[in-house]
């Protein structure tokens, strides 16, 4: 993780160079020489510096940042021991207690709001709006921190969140400071007004983030899940939203503002909120938030991948937007993330989306339909369609032959050959064992005892030799028309007949 952070910092400095922020420039030397241990801290300092420089005109943003700074530091410090090894219970405990503290803060805030709302009924609208802005900004900052910390608690996503939360925070705040409505969107950076700087930054961040996570050649590897390739929305007819990497990778996207519990769906969150008080039980609170009474035509929303250079990124020449947040999530995980889920059956196929793994596992090992050309198919009819299409292709049959027939047939091979030779010898020499038998047949058991029934000598018994055939005619017989013209052996037969 640490070495990977390096390019991040580099490009970060570059991007800040581009904008020529003196304060950062002056720090650069020191910064680069600094050890990895206080890395996160350093970045944070930079960021706060940057933030101050950048958002100086915005009091809300500054205010908030200064308020959060100590906590951020605390957070990064708490994280530090976590970095060398994968999981440290102590760090986890730290994180948890931090979360607890945060949640308490949040609770206090909300209590405050509740209290204020009761009081401010008589005040002017102006003050009301101002207060609301302040509180929502505070709230958002806390929520974001919660997200990042919560993320760091989970091993699967920890590396994506650890040191970048401040950066994302920066982007968030930037967006929020200019657009109070952005709060309701929470995680989304709107792409409509003059937020060039923020946009650029977030692009850079996206790029860095992805560089950390996955190699670039994965880029166009897999077409996205949704079929919006054919969708020809004229550019500008839709609103482009770009989620940040952390938001994409966060296990939950909707968080309870009171207890911090995360949810995958907003509806679930609303259901959850009912438990926090009667005010959340009103039909208005339970209604879908986007079903606002505003009758103006809703602008179609499309999404951009934060990965710079990706076809799904809005700066790409042939940008193709993603339709839904789910598409963004799947696209991002599939294309720009490590494939962490390995199929337990074949141990070769890897996936970054767990649903893909499950789909694969359903069919894994069933790719048994093999063509002579080497192509495999999961279904017989697909193989047969392939064979029908190509001249000379046939289904391949696995080489391993059914057990049981191998051994005996092989054994039979040598045994049989010698048997036939022996047989021929018998015929040629005109040996007549039957005669011998006949003479020794005073005891019926003797009749076949000499031949023995051991497995080894079955051949001797089964090919019971009989008088030599001088005439080739009698050496074979034709069924029905066949001969079976053995020379009459009545005399010999009578011999055995005497037994009676």
């Amino acid at each position: 993780m640490d070495p990977e952070e390096r390019p991040c910092a580099d490009s970060w400095t570059k991007s800040s160079n581009n904008r020529s922020f003196a304060s950062i420039d002056s720090q650069q030397q020191k910064w680069e020489a600094s050890s990895f241990h206080d890395y996160g801290l350093r970045i944070e300092q930079q960021i706060s510096a940057f933030n101050q420089a950048f958002g100086a005109q915005n009091s809300v943003s500054c205010n908030m940042n200064s308020q959060n700074d100590p906590q951020d530091k605390q957070m990064s410090e708490a994280r530090k021991p976590n970095e060398p090894q994968d999981w440290d219970p102590r760090a986890m405990l730290n994180n948890l207690s931090f979360l607890e503290k945060k949640i308490h803060q949040l609770q206090d805030l909300v209590h405050l709001i509740v209290g204020r709302r009761c009081q401010v009924t008589g005040r002017t609208d102006e003050i009301l709006v101002q207060q609301q802005q302040l509180i929502t900004a505070d709230l958002t900052s806390i929520i974001v921190q919660l997200i990042s910390t919560a993320g760091s608690l989970l091993p699967s996503v920890k590396h994506t969140l650890c040191s970048e939360s401040p950066i994302s925070q920066l982007g968030q705040f930037g967006g929020m400071s200019n657009q109070s409505t952005g709060v309701s969107d929470g995680m989304v950076v709107p792409n409509n007004n003059s937020m060039n700087k923020v946009e650029n930054q977030s692009n850079a961040m996206g790029f860095l983030g992805s560089e950390q996570n996955c190699p670039i050649e994965d880029h166009e590897m897999k077409s996205d899940d949704d079929a919006d390739e054919g969708e020809n929305l004229p550019p500008g007819s839709y609103e482009i939203l770009q989620l940040e990497k952390e938001e994409i990778l966060a296990p939950h996207t909707h968080f309870c503002t009171i207890c911090g519990k995360g949810f995958k769906r907003d509806a679930n969150l609303r259901m959850h909120m009912r438990g926090h008080g009667d005010e959340y039980k009103t039909p208005a609170a339970l209604a879908k938030p986007n079903k606002e009474p505003s009758s103006e035509p809703v602008l179609i929303k499309r999404y951009s991948c934060p990965f710079v250079g990706c076809k799904r990124n809005k700066d790409h020449k042939k940008f193709q937007p993603l339709k839904t947040i789910l598409c963004v999530k799947n696209h991002y995980k599939r294309t720009h993330c490590d494939k962490t889920y390995t199929c337990s059956r074949c141990n070769t196929k890897k996936f970054s989306v767990i649903a893909d793994l499950k789909t694969h596992e359903k069919h894994c090992g069933r790719d048994k339909w093999l063509c002579s050309c080497g192509t495999t198919f999961s279904r017989k009819d697909k193989l047969f369609g392939h064979i029908a299409l190509f001249q000379g292709h046939t289904p391949a049959i696995p080489v391993e032959e059914p057990k049981g027939s191998v051994g005996p047939s092989d054994r039979g091979q040598c045994g049989e050959a010698s048997k036939i030779e022996q047989l021929e010898f018998n015929y040629k020499s005109g040996q007549n064992i039957m005669d011998v038998e006949g003479s020794s047949a005073d005891n019926p058991t003797n009749y076949f005892l000499p031949m023995g029934f051991d497995t080894g000598s079955i051949s001797g018994f089964s090919e019971f030799p009989r008088p030599s055939f001088e005439d080739s005619e009698s050496s074979f017989s034709f069924l029905l028309s066949g001969s079976g013209n053995y020379p009459p052996k009545d005399g010999r037969y009578a011999g055995s007949n005497n037994l009676e």
């Binding site: 049959i397 039979g412 049989e416 090919e463 005619e473 017989s477 066949g482």
Partner: protein, 645 residues
């Protein structure tokens, strides 16, 4: 041979003439006598001979060397064909005869595996026809081996239960010249396989998909096969009317269609087929409909060329038969088994169809002598008539047949209680008779058999099942008259004794004998039979309790050609069983149930002695645990099917 007159005759008889004479001998046994006469005749036979069916493969190479024109080889009755036998055959004389072989019958060669088959397919480059029916152990590997012979035109895969679509695909791709393919009872083959077949084998003329679990989808693909002339699809229970609509619109060359026992079909299916194919020669639709629908009957008018019509199991009205007789003038064969036709219907039918050669009226128990009279009167060319279970018929019917249908070759009178000695006397005027079935005709006696035996000298197949009045004298008459007799059943004719068996022993052609439950026959009777009937290949002596080991010893010694035997319920001992099973090297099928005098060890020894060649064996289920697993496994790996009773 060494006398001068005979030599001079041979000088006169040039090879051309001899060949001409030889070509006038259609019967195998006559040809055999011919070639046994002298070396010259043998040579004539040898240069004419194209087909051999051998019991002993070990002599095959030298035999094929002597018979230069043989291109058809039947190994189906060889008990011991396996991969090593094939490699032995091919190594001995590969270059000489192998290229000549065009037809190969490997039916029931269950010991063979893909290596042997592949060797045959690769070496016999001109192979055009292969039969591997009833090799139920064959899997796709064997099919793949077979697909190496690219010239293949005919292939029979009947009852290759384990060949699936993959095997079929191998064959379809490897043998594109296939013209005839039979897939009966290949239960693993589905629509997918048939679809591929239709795409790859465009030259198919004859296809049999009977009893496959295919749907109408298969028929959709089959309907695109332009050259298909014969389509058999008996018992395709998943095919519905849609499938036959496809056939009606496609298959432009269709001549023969068999949709018997396709339960899902309605009359509209048959209608659409008839509408599409007016030049159909044969239509088989037995057991499809409980009653032949009139819509179909009216459409039968269009089938002016129809020669064979099978509607067993469907009730047919008199009006329907009238329409058929008025329109299908070419009809040569009609099967109306269990169709409940009455005299009027038959009269309507034969009034138009005077060319009828084969008529099946099994279980039409309403028929009287009147119907037979009209049949005999109108259809003088009748060759085959089946009247099983027509109980109202009396000796008068046989009188009409005997005096009018002199060409009759086959008649089935099983369970016709009206048949008596006088009737047989009338019938015996049909001197061409080759097959006569009199099972359960309890009113016939030795006298009746005497008439038959003295006049019907060509009889090959005679069934006297449970004709309890038949005794030794009847068999004596048979053995004097019917020298060509090959198949004889006289089970439960309890009067027959050892004397009768002695008479039978003079029937040299006898190959198939069923004589169950004859208490008066002892070991000496069987001994007489075995010494005389050397061609015996199938013998059923079930429940002949008094045959002792002496009889079975004789059997073991003389009946070298025996292939199938049923000893169940006999008094055979361990020694006798081991003798028979070990010594009869051609034995392939043995039923060994209820052998009270045989110990488990004896049975085990007998099975060990014969395990290399047995293809099928029936044993008591309780023996499954008592016999050693070794022998059971050995039997099964050699391709032997064990039926546990």
């Amino acid at each position: 041979m060494d006398s001068s007159p005979s030599t001079s005759i041979l000088i006169l008889l040039t090879e051309d003439l001899l060949l001409k004479i030889f070509s006038l001998l259609p019967d195998d046994s006559d040809r055999k006598s011919f070639r046994s006469t002298c070396k010259t005749f043998y040579r004539v036979d040898a240069i004419r001979r194209t087909h051999i069916r051998v019991l002993r493969p070990e002599f095959l190479p030298s035999l094929l060397h002597k018979l230069p024109r043989v291109d058809s080889l039947d190994l189906s009755v060889c008990p011991r064909i396996d991969d090593s036998a094939v490699s032995f055959l091919l190594s001995a004389a590969a270059p000489i005869w192998v290229r000549r072989i065009k037809r190969l019958n490997l039916s029931r060669c269950s010991g063979l595996r893909f290596r042997g088959l592949e060797a045959l397919a690769v070496n016999c480059k001109n192979l055009e026809s292969v039969d591997i029916s009833y090799c139920s152990g064959f899997v796709d590997l064997e099919a793949a081996a077979l697909s190496r012979s690219a010239e293949l035109k005919e292939l029979n895969l009947n009852k290759c239960l384990n060949i699936s679509d993959v095997g079929l695909a191998k064959i379809a791709v490897g043998c594109p010249k296939l013209e005839k393919l039979s897939l009966k009872w290949c239960f693993d083959i589905t629509d997918i396989g048939v679809e591929l077949l239709s795409k790859k084998c465009a030259r198919l003329k004859h296809l049999d998909i009977s009893y496959l679990k295919v749907t109408s989808e298969s028929l959709r693909w089959i309907s695109g096969m332009d050259r298909l002339e014969i389509l058999e699809m008996v018992g395709c229970g998943l095919v519905d009317d849609m499938g036959l609509h496809y056939i009606g619109e496609g298959c432009p060359s269709l001549k023969v269609l068999d949709i018997s026992r396709c339960d899902k079909l309605s009359s509209s299916a048959l209608s659409s087929v008839i509408r599409g194919h007016n030049s159909l020669l044969q239509l088989h639709a037995s057991h499809c409909f409980p009653e032949l629908p009139m819509t179909v009957v009216h459409q039968l008018k269009d089938l002016a060329k129809l020669k064979v019509l099978t509607i067993d199991g469907s009730r047919v009205s008199d009006a329907a038969l009238k329409i058929i007789s008025e329109n299908c003038r070419c009809l040569a064969e009609i099967r109306l088994g269990k169709s409940k036709v009455r005299d009027e219907g038959i009269m309507q039918l034969v009034s138009g169809c005077v060319n009828l050669k084969a008529l099946n009226l099994t279980c039409c128990s309403d028929l009287t002598d009147q119907a037979i009279l009209t049949i005999a009167d109108s259809c003088r060319d009748l060759i085959s008539l089946k009247l099983e279970c027509c109980n109202l018929l009396s000796e008068r019917s046989l009188n009409f047949l005997g005096s009018l249908c002199v060409l009759l070759q086959e008649i089935d009178l099983t369970d016709c209680s009206g048949v008596n000695d006088i009737g047989l006397k009338y019938l015996s005027k049909c001197s061409e008779l080759a097959s006569l079935k009199l099972g359960l005709c309890t009113n016939i006696s030795d006298n009746g058999l005497y008439y038959v035996a003295s006049n019907c000298l060509k009889i090959r197949d005679l069934d006297l099942y449970r004709c309890s009045e038949i005794g030794d004298d009847g068999l004596a008459a048979l053995s004097h008259g019917c020298k060509k007799l090959q198949k004889l059943i006289f089970s439960y004719c309890g009067l027959v004794t050892d004397i009768g068996m002695e008479y039978l022993s003079s029937l040299e052609e006898l190959s198939d004998l069923e004589m169950r439950c004859l208490p008066n026959i002892t070991g000496s009777g069987l001994r007489n039979l075995a010494t005389g009937c050397r061609k015996l290949s199938q013998l059923d002596v079930k429940n002949c309790k008094n045959i002792d080991d002496s009889g079975f010893w004789a059997l073991a010694y003389y009946s070298r050609n025996l292939q199938q035997i049923n000893f169940s319920g006999c008094a055979i001992s361990d020694v006798g069983l081991c003798m028979v099973m070990g010594n009869l090297t051609r034995l392939q099928d043995a039923k060994l149930v209820d052998l009270t005098n045989v110990s488990v060890n004896g049975l085990e020894l007998a099975l060990r002695a014969s395990c290399a060649r047995l293809k099928k064996v029936k044993l008591l289920a309780s023996l499954r645990r008592l016999l050693s697993t070794e022998i059971i496994v050995t039997l099964e790996t050699r391709g032997c099917k064990i039926r546990w009773d």
